[in-house]
């Protein structure tokens, strides 16, 4: 997740990338996404992967996948993810994501395990997190 100024708000790698290479990768990815106009499609070819991105207000969510994935399904998945966040945070804004990064990680881990989608049902994803919240309040 990146904002329009190019600052990374969340990053998750399912394939090992060296830390110094990460910043470079992220900058390039952001540049190619930011330079797209509204009339261009959401799929970009970058090196030997495909990038699928969606813009929500000032936040870009970019997912990089290899050739075998169905781009449109991933496009749908991004929206699914945002809807889950929306339900948890009750109308999510990017600041909330920033300040609750650990929770967002938990949600993402409930949905994607090692690069494979594991759960897409909102209630089931959020259930453990709600239990955790209750536990930490008490």
């Amino acid at each position: 997740m990146v904002n329009k100024q190019g600052q990374t708000r969340l990053s998750k790698y399912y394939e090992h990338v060296d830390i110094n290479k990460r910043t470079l990768l992220e900058t390039e990815v952001i540049k190619s996404c930011l330079s797209r106009s509204n009339e261009q499609c959401s799929f970009i070819e970058y090196k030997d992967f495909k990038l699928i991105y969606r813009q929500y207000a000032a936040l870009f969510i970019v997912v990089g996948v290899n050739d075998t994935e169905n781009e449109m399904a991933i496009y749908e998945f991004i929206h699914n993810f945002v809807e889950v966040l929306d339900e948890y945070f009750s109308r999510v804004v990017s600041l909330m994501i920033m300040f609750n990064l650990d929770k967002v990680h938990i949600i993402l881990d409930e949905m994607v395990l090692n690069g494979c989608i594991v759960e897409t049902n909102r209630a089931r994803i959020l259930a453990p997190l709600l239990i955790l919240d209750k536990m930490s309040e008490s």
């Binding site: 990053s11 090992h16 009339e39 169905n70 449109m72 496009y75 090692n114 989608i117 049902n121």
Partner: protein, 787 residues
Amino acid sequence: MPGQRVFLHSRTLPVRMVAPSLKLQDLIEEIRGAKTQAQEREVIQKECAHIRASFRDGDPVHRHRQLAKLLYVHMLGYPAHFGQMECLKLIASSRFTDKRVGYLGAMLLLDERHDAHLLITNSIKNDLSQGIQPVQGLALCTLSTMGSAEMCRDLAPEVEKLLLQPSPYVRKKAILTAVHMIRKVPELSSVFLPPCVHLLHERHHGILLGTITLITELCERSPAALKHFRKVVPQLVQILRTLVTTGYSTEHSISGVSDPFLQVQILRLLRILGRNHEESSETMNDLLAQVATNTDTSRNAGNAVLFETVLTIMDIHSAAGLRVLAVNILGRFLLNSDRNIRYVALTSLLRLVQSDHSAVQRHRPTVVDCLQETDASLSRRALELSLALVNSSNVRAMMQELQAFLESCPPDLRADCASGILLAAERFAPTKRWHIDTILHVLTTAGTHVRDDAVANLTQLIGGAQELHAYSVRRLYNALAEDISQQPLVQVAAWCIGEYGDLLLEGNCEEIEPLQVDEEEVLALLEKVLQSHMSLPATRGYALTALMKLSTRLQGDNNRIRQVVSIYRSCLDVELQQRAVEYDTLFRKYDHMRAAILEKMPLVERDGPQADEEAKQSKEAAQLSEAAPAPTESQASQLLDLLDLLDRASGDAQHPPPLDPSPGGALVYLLDLPCAPPPPAPIPDLKVFEREGVQLNLSFIRPPENPALLLITITATNSSEGDVTNFICQAAVPKSLQLQLQAPSGNTVPARGGLPITQLFRILNPNKVSFRSSPKARPRDSRSHGC
């Protein structure tokens, strides 16, 4: 106590450090507050120092907070390796919040390259076997992200146990962890394969999704697994059918499509199972048709499923009607207003155009419309697809569209478009004139982007079309008069004007409006080209030569041309200078030869790849046909040689007894030493001479360690009544072979089957040249056997 000491110590430090530790949120606030990159770095460095100190002091209470901050900083790109050991400590703690951050830290900071990662194996093992469900979930998540091969081997039994647990929350994660394990340690496939079939019976979507991913991974890795899982195809079909036909289900429906993610996964697995397998493909056909027709396409989710269905249909052995349906779906996608859908449609059609050409042709108009896309990646695909769809029946219409596109397309596509048009024109040109027109148009619109051989191709084409010389030269002249900047065009035009200048000046041409051009104009134009700073040196060369040729074609006197030529004698460009000097000499000393030298050029041999192929093929055919009669003819001559035992002086009529070809053939070929390296077959002995009791036998040995060597032993026996004396055996070999004769055992062949004379010949064939030997035995002896 350590904690207090820290506290006291920190009272003397600046205010910010007084608080025991910043909460993560406060740190984020601070970082946000930093106005510049340098300021941010400062904040982070200070905080990292504080975190390091806290780790050193080993404060268990706030450790998780420190690590959380560290992870945040790590995400921003700052080094965080000193937190690795803290991850271990946090994982080992009993508090859930600690474990949570610890496992997250392990996922982000540890990986196979660091030795520390093995240390968490034990903690994971404990958590997997004894932890509560959320903890098990955490452990599985981390294991599946950073588990190395050793860890996977160690923990496989635990994961296997969890696969069979009742709770779906843990099971779905265990299944996906198994996927990771198989990727790292392929041998574990045997452990995780048996539960799969059973898991498919579950109804929980999370489990199904995981199971299908696992089966897909297993099938991709091993053909045996693929065969094994073909038997679940009916079950998969059933699951998918239920998904498609059930109505609105609140649990997993996205935009009216029930669990599109599961549908897509199932379709992908079906694709893998049905590929190259008739039976499975047949089982799927109905279902695929059903999915294709029933899925709601108004929203993206439905389209995603439809897209996957199309991919599956194209990849398996589907019925022809189904394939056409798939192509039509893609055609419909092309009309969709959503760009993303058009993109995937164009990409897929491009993949299909080779195999299902006629089906894709039906959508040609839509594809051509897509050329107008504003998105560059879309228009590029549309261009590739359009070029692939050109065939002899639609070539004129397509070329028109493509040429219109060439005029308006973005610069990075120009080169591809131009070369695509030229290639298509070459393959499908209905008439030569159309072809010339097309190339001309491309040269004028995108001249700078064409490939280098376009000029050569065009000149060759024009040269070969005699009836169109006048037409071509006229059109080229007009084009040149308008614009002398496009180099390929200028080069071709200059060449043409040089060759066919006389036709240009004639004035009349049926195919084009009559043009009155006089000589001075033509010369002036060529001079302009010569002098223009836009002209490349090669172009100048063309122009100069053209001028020279015109000196024979034009009626007027050649003073102007001579003047230009002599000016260029001192040109700085060496090539031009050389030409000018030569031409000038031609004017001065060899004027009588000028007309002959500057005659019209003959048609240049087409040097393209097709010509090479043809030449190659004809050469091969010639070789084959040569090889066939050659043996027979040499065979005949061999027979004669072998039987030509006497020189002509003997006078005896030697009528070669008719040997039927097969033994005779055998005779010949046995003496052939094959040059290819087949295993050296033992060559049987050969009787080469027999006359009146004297018999000459050759026996052959080829030593295995030196296949180029052949040892021939000649044995001369005499079964007649008299001895044969002065028996000499000679041999001659061609230069490529080396012959070594050893001394014979004697030179008298005793009578009545006495001890034969043997002589050894060594023939070395280092170049493995095939040769035929024709021993001519000429026994010369003084005995009265009358030879």
